[in-house]
Assembly symmetry: C2
Homo-oligomer: 276 residues x 2
Amino acid sequence: MTFREKLIAAQRQRHSLVCVGLDTDSQRLPDHLRDSADGVLEFNRKIIEATQDLVCAYKPNLAFYEALGARGWDILRETTTLIPPDVVTIGDAKRGDIGSTAEQYAKALFGNLRFDAITINAYLGYDSVEPFIRDPEHGVFVLALTSNPGSRDFQRMKVVGKPLYEKVARSCVKWNAKGNIGLVVGATHPNDLKTIRTLAPAMPILIPGVGTQGGDLRASIRFGCDKHGELAVINSSRAILYASAGRDFAEAARREATKLRDQIRSYQSEFFTPRR
Amino acid sequence: MTFREKLIAAQRQRHSLVCVGLDTDSQRLPDHLRDSADGVLEFNRKIIEATQDLVCAYKPNLAFYEALGARGWDILRETTTLIPPDVVTIGDAKRGDIGSTAEQYAKALFGNLRFDAITINAYLGYDSVEPFIRDPEHGVFVLALTSNPGSRDFQRMKVVGKPLYEKVARSCVKWNAKGNIGLVVGATHPNDLKTIRTLAPAMPILIPGVGTQGGDLRASIRFGCDKHGELAVINSSRAILYASAGRDFAEAARREATKLRDQIRSYQSEFFTPRR
């Protein structure tokens, strides 16, 4: 099964576009788990148990695991094994290096850590992307327009009249011979999301920034989905993980994830006709 | 001592601008060390012992260690402890993420792995850079114009008449309040290196691509150094690491590193007047 097929199947089976970002910060855990590497794993286990029927994907950000050193790498690998096999795993790695080095990252992220897909930064151009898209079972989400304030520094610069992020999206469309490239577009930029969805009508788009960062969920569904109301992957990290600071964190996370899934469903029915 | 002071001191004390890229690929090691994580550590130990009086810096590329999983992370950390304390360590990580995540990467790379400096990708803008430049004891090399073929895909795109890489370099000059930002410019682009050095007369410039990738060493020294013939960091990885495929790999690496250091010195005397 290709990465794209797996994503679509997960979205349909669970009627959900929700992705939980496992950006687990050991310093933000409930008291009984705080500041311990094993606490991070236990926290992830409970979050996954509480939300796995509500999501199409999980997206651990590697930075939070690297901050724990070698043990963090093990915890990340153990975390991915806790995720049901029909749910998509996205390694939020934002890697990007010359071709021969990108092959090593592909080995690390697809081989060792067994992610279905990863996020990458394409500033280094095609040969930095190619090693990640050789096998259609694995996919990438290329950073186009990110959710943060710094996205205006370079991504919006005009290149022959068009913003740079649009050039990146157009290149990805051109490079997508195997159908396993997606894009990252922050929910904080609804109008640009519309432009990008028009350029790339059938690509998965990973949309971070709807929770703590204040992105626009309704517009993200309206403009981020394909014509069937699918293929947007709506990520929420902190708003779900830290919904409660107490021992009830997993139930609180489940409540938040349910709320997000249902809100997305209501916007889907507002803007799209259900498939038959 | 700031990162910049440490780099200058290392270059002066060893009369060398050479940086050895520890891109140690377990599959390319001599027979007796091949395909073993411990082999990678032993290889690095021998390479460092054989070259440490000849270099100003070592630059492990994280991809090669991540490809080994959690053990790779330990080997990377052990490798950095083998490097003499007055030689600069550069983690070639090419990281770049939103501010709150970049803080976690800073913890991983400066805290856990204790690098003096790292390479970063600034596509996400200022808030993705800022967490790495808070402490002048640590530095960054921001990717401007990389050595690979894909550098033409986006980095050379014209933004209001100037190539994007130049915009990146100008932003770095503006952001460099603490004097700990450097740039990465491939030796495969000598004319652009000249432009960048003019824009950033006092910044360290990390210059990969002189070995296997065929960059121009003479032009890299001529255009990449500051007015004192310093602050260019000339990286060679494969040409030094794999100078011999046999048991004499460390001696062969020493010969190659010596040759590179001396060639650089002769170009320094061709183009610069020695400091008094």
